[in-house]
Amino acid sequence: MSSAEPSTWPPGLPPLLPAERPGVKEAVHVDTLSNGVSVWVVRRPGLPLVSLGLACLGGKRDDPHALPGLSALLAEGLKEGSETLTAEALHERLQGEGAALGASAGADGLSLSIHGLADGLDTFVDILSQLVRSPAFPEEGIARVRALAEEDLATQESEPSFLAVRVLLRALFADHPYATVAPSMSTISAVSPGVLRGEAKRRFRPDRTAVIAVGDVDPGAVLKASERFLGGWEHDALPETPVEGPEVGRFSRRILAVERPGSVQTYLMVGNPAVSRNHPDFFALSLAMTAYGGAFTSRLVTNLRTQKGYTYSPGARLAAFRYAGYVRTVSAVRNEVTGAALNEIFYELDRMGAIELSDEELERSRMRDVGLRATNLQTSSGLFSELMSLFSSGLGAGKLDEPSEKLFTIQRDEIKRASKRHLASYATTVVAVGDLGVIEEHLAPFGPIEVAAAPEPGFAGT
């Protein structure tokens, strides 16, 4: 697995043992119920735990245009119980099985997940099936969800990372639902039990749902429980409404500033539109991002942190959805090095498209990603998350090992080409959150500064 190691390494350092290429060794048991519900199970004997969830296609992308961020409120609303199980009873039953319910909305899917003791299997499938088939959305519970969402939005707006990503995604994806980070005030105000009931009926359908389980459970038992609780789920076969990806045209550099008076740091977020999860460049660009800013020994972290001490936790990543994606670089730097840091970010972005990775960089980036993947997939919950995300991206369980395989076949020229296409500094959108009176002079040399409006369109606050 390892090629020749650098000659600069310490004499006496023990060699890597020969290792077989790691990957997921366990089989994913794949079945489909007669109504179209997919069932994916991986048995992991050992600790008596299970991670079990429902992955439902239809996340933010399916939100009505007038109600951006509705999915997140739908997910929260589902936690308020079913027609036959109050929220209180539901959460106590789960607690009694050592479990808790999670519900979240992603770009392309909505997921319900339970991590608990394996002997709660039937209870878990029962509860999840009730939530998608007959959610309660009680008046009082939904009023509370609304009130908490309002407070949550205000709290998030005090965080620079939230302010930055909200402005960046709006700039990259315009009015496409992928641009929405959190429900706006107008969406929160508009949510009612009736709205949520309509959304649940529209979105949750057997042929767009998967039961996914990983843990100390028998695949046959999961299938049986799925048949029992979800087998009778019928739904009018409405055609799936195709929602296109965002139109991404040519970009030129923009500097967007967000005022946050009293900040002692500038929060920089630098982004470019990039590729979807299914794009041919996806794996090359993923590996490029590791070498550029994802790994601790990447070019960006070495430059900004190790060599210059400008920042504590710089980083970069590719976020790839089903129909679009973007890359972003993030760094919180002290005010006076705002311009210097931005300069280095541009330099490193362009260097990725100009100069191929060295042998050592390529091997290091590959091994880092291979190891990280093996580490993440060692737990039931880690493998579970990976399967949930595959389903939401519209990919089959058979794709589980694809990343491990691709990591060893991607070549340096592919990485350089993908970088040139997607990391060019002239096409970046820079978002700087900070005390503008202090940092404006550091940003000015990079281009005209547009002061971004703080509230979302439709935001009803001050």
């Binding site: 043992l17 959460h91 009694g96 003791l117 290091r364 291979v370």
Partner: protein, 449 residues
Amino acid sequence: MTQPASGSPGEPRVPAVATLDLPALVSRLANGLTVVVSEDPAVPVFGMTVLYRVGSRLEPRGRSGFAHLFEHLMFEGTPGAPKGLFDRICESSGATNNGQTRPDATVYIESGLSSALERFLWLEADRMSCLSFEKETLDIQRDVVKEEIRVNVQNDPYGLFEYQELPALLFDKWENAHDGYGDFADLDAASIEDVKAFFQTFYRPNNAIVSIVSDRPAPEVIGLVEKYFGPLPPGILPAHPDISEPPRKTGAVSVREAPLARTPALVAGWRMPGPQNEDVLPLLILGELLHEGRSARLYKGLVEGRQIATEVMGGFNPFQGLCWYTGTTLFLSRIAYKRGVSHGTVLGAFAEERDRLLREGVPAAELERVKRRLFSSYLSLLENRLERSLELASATAFGGTPVAALEFPARISRVTSAEVVRAAEKWLSPETWAVVVKEPPAGAAEEEE
């Protein structure tokens, strides 16, 4: 692997009463290094912790933040593996690493493909042997640490106040009360001589525990630890100061403006007894019962019932886990609440919930559910090899043996409702709390419509 007692449906089920059946061999080298090895063949992944029994509480006076700054320097090169190599070798070998400075320990953790395990033993032994001690590296890491403080504290709406501000109000002794991140003047004062002295005093094999979980045979792993760490000389360890503190005699509430915040939050904290105290396990259960999940007392009472709070979190010994600490620790309750609600209302509601618990007790069914949840969460933690190595190392450092971790579920299962109530009465009184309140500037806290 464990023996969760089963029962017919409807009957209350006790969580596992047996000790967890996970292997954990412990041995001690001639130089005093303690080695813990857990062999688990399921996947070719290792998790490893090197724990040094020194944290921010033992850093020198006038050098607040030093233990943490020192932790950064452990990654910055040795005579044998110069600056930059540690992380490059790590990532090239399919592993990730980190370090964490806690009040009573500093831990260095690695996890990745087990084909690389032996070279991490080499790397950890190498940096236990000697560091580069370069002035330029110290200066750069001083800047990096300041950026860490800016991002996590100064630029954060609440300034990590449960960790930064609460201890200063709650405790009297410098070891417990001072800021573990450090103030900038103290960081600036740190010299290479300080770095050398700290290393030579505390970073010795007889002050360390190496804990490894991997698929490699345990005797082989112990042999490798002996090979690389065996030659290191032991040191003379200073006596551990008495850092215990009796409960406060009075309550204290400090209201502070949080200029960057838009919604208010408060944290209440109490001084806790030493780790051997009989109330420790009941207090752990109490932390879960009050804070964790939708069925927790404070969630139901303050978020759902009174609808004054938005989020509750907290518990016993939150910064180090379970009962892994020395002398004293804190119990805290962090409550984010709605704009327009006063902190007095929130604190009053907390006191009412405690009163109700003292008056009505904890129903058997509720206690049972809370224990099942604690049990399940602990198993999930141990499933991750890195977390398991850290837990076994902490149990060995603060409980004397890794078995202290494996026995935890059984000990939890024996705690009674009366013991939980007694712990709440004795240790969580509003008369002995210290409370820090963070309020947004006037105007920002107004309800927006």
